[in-house]
Symmetry: C4
Subunit: 220 residues, 4 copies
């Protein structure tokens, strides 16, 4: 468009300080709000232990959600290490990404309720499909983020190659495909299989956050 600053190769829009601080605030709140779902069980005197044991599914859902948000935070941590400065466009993509993070407690709660007490087999298929669709949708802004960086190499941090960024696009594409596959498994075959697929995908993202970490293509 114009702009001496950009022509000279200096950061074209702004540093990522506020982007980082705002994102970390959102992550911190989402991961902390999860504990609100853990409640002192209503119980008769002398039956606290029984009451606590009956809440076991809520603890499992809490740990799963905590782990999932933690994995996304680690991935986001690594994502922003690729970037030196940000633009309005990248800020929009980051807001889209945070939308996926903010939403996640909702399908998690639906999944926990369907497996814990409220649901029959049909409800569990619905819950697994909803969760898988939410997770697949959350992969889309990551693909947009990598693609935007690839088209705007001036935003990249020092020593980060365009080829490295382009290679990272495989991860959200894999995520979208396999989350959708997990949803289809859960809907058509078995809800438990769908959940297993989702847990495997979270583990995949946990393990591959290491891959983004180095700021250059990993050797394999």
């Amino acid at each position: 468009m114009s702009a001496s600053g950009e022509a000279a190769g200096t950061p074209p829009v702004s540093d990522i300080g506020r982007l980082t601080g705002f994102s970390d605030g959102v992550f911190a709140i989402v991961i902390t709000l999860l504990v609100i779902e853990l409640r002192v069980p209503a119980h008769r005197p002398g039956e606290l232990l029984t009451g606590l044991v009956e809440e076991a599914p809520a603890y499992v859902a809490f740990l799963l959600s905590f782990g999932y948000v933690g994995v996304i935070w680690l991935n986001h941590h690594m994502l922003l290490r690729l970037v030196r400065s940000t633009t309005l466009g990248l800020n929009w993509i980051n807001l889209w990404l945070l939308l996926g993070v903010v939403v996640i407690p909702f399908p998690t709660a639906v999944l926990a309720a369907a497996f814990a007490h409220d649901g029959n087999d049909h409800d569990r298929r619905v819950a697994v499909l909803l969760y898988a669709l939410a997770a697949a949708a959350m992969s889309a802004p990551w693909l947009a983020f990598f693609s935007y960086l690839r088209r705007h190499p001036a935003l990249l941090g020092e020593g980060i190659s365009v080829a490295h960024v382009a290679a990272q696009r495989a991860r959200p594409v894999t995520g979208m495909a396999l989350y959708l596959l997990s949803g289809a498994l859960g809907w058509f075959v078995s809800p438990v299989l769908g959940v297993i697929g989702i847990v495997v995908m979270i583990a995949y993202h946990a393990l591959t956050s290491e891959g983004v970490r180095r700021g250059r293509p990993r050797r394999r």
Copy 2:
């Protein structure tokens, strides 16, 4: 008053680090709290899907509010890029601005409830008017912010001209006028028309955040 620092043209009061951090915290909490309104629908076994579909208005309200707070954050991001340092007066104006941000979930919830289930046509007119008044009121501190900066050019960041800041005052003035018009439309003509006016105004602020972004008047 005094003060060698001010006379010499160095930042007269303090850098904007805490102003930024505090504001980002408020934005992050408001945008995250919105998900609390999404709840697992009470349902009979096998009817989870029906229950989820019936909650559709809550999802629309959630997305609208998320987008609205996101747009305000982007605008605030650009706003603070005009500023090098802050004063007690500017901190007060920023608190006023944050008051408008913190409030917004309330008229949003009223609007969603009026359209979803609780309201008749009269209630919808009330809800649209309330929303429009809240949005118009939120424009006032932005005008105060630009006007304060215009009168205190020593606070401006490097390369930001007073003329550019003065020109930005057109945006909150437009916002106030057209939000009030949307409210009048909703009250006197049709609630749906009023909502359309509000959505158009949010889109206007989304598009013009770009205008503030460059730190100088845009060419048209």
Copy 3:
């Protein structure tokens, strides 16, 4: 004790970055949580407006609390500008100060409820006394903060004199005395007089945050 760093006059413990970030997080959450008290009124179709008007006391309480927390944040902003680095002792005093901030929504809610609907005259005296005691108690850590700084001048920021810090102690002492007086007024004379005393004191702290701002005694 030891420590080359301290002997050389460099910051004895740590910079105030985390102290600031943690405090701003607490302030941002407290000021944002206040909106949770604003709820869509339960109403019959066509009576939304009536329902909203009946909630007026809740809006007043919200605005008062927002203003109060905002004033405390501004004072805290100015307080930390006196400080270059922090110690374990100062961190403890800051935690004590934040305890007072975190608590404030509770006496505010009690006050609002007593005046809005739940209370008779006796309840209002109780509520005003509780609020005044909480506000007086909140002044204590500010006195401790200034006294600690006075005894540890190495922690002071550049150009901040011990005399200036010592002079600031008058403010929390005034606060404690007059908040207690407001509570006594509310208890023995009239709850409304007590509330007026409290509002005057909040305004006093709003106005005198300017006094701390300059990092040196103001001329009068």
Copy 4:
């Protein structure tokens, strides 16, 4: 693996800015959410004072939890002062540590409820045991953190010796042993004795945060 940066001894992964900001966000939210448990007591007109007095156990639980989270924050503050940069592994350990922080309101609420009104003696033993197990479990990531640092001295801040870090491992080990002992006391002997043991341990961590503070072994 590779990496000139690491070979040269420069920070191998990333600075601790986001780790710090994210952690402080979590701490700020947990410590602020505690006030949500304080509610205006339902009461008949004229009986607000009685209602407030009956809530005394909730105030004690609030103060205890506030103090506990505050102590953990101070310890975490000192912990990160040992560190210059972070890795994926250390980020995981920090997430594990934050899991313990986020969880703590839950056993606190169980403990308060068991002592306040809902519980008999058996319930109190259960609640004390649960609290002690949660506190003991929270010590584990601290041990992992110190051990990780000991094995990766390149992450240590300037002037921090490996011997100092290794010595710090005594604190979480003491914590785990004595929290478990407190739980056993509460379960087999007396719930009140168990609570006293837990309070003593919180005080121990408050006092020894000073020990970590200096970045080198204390002289005794």
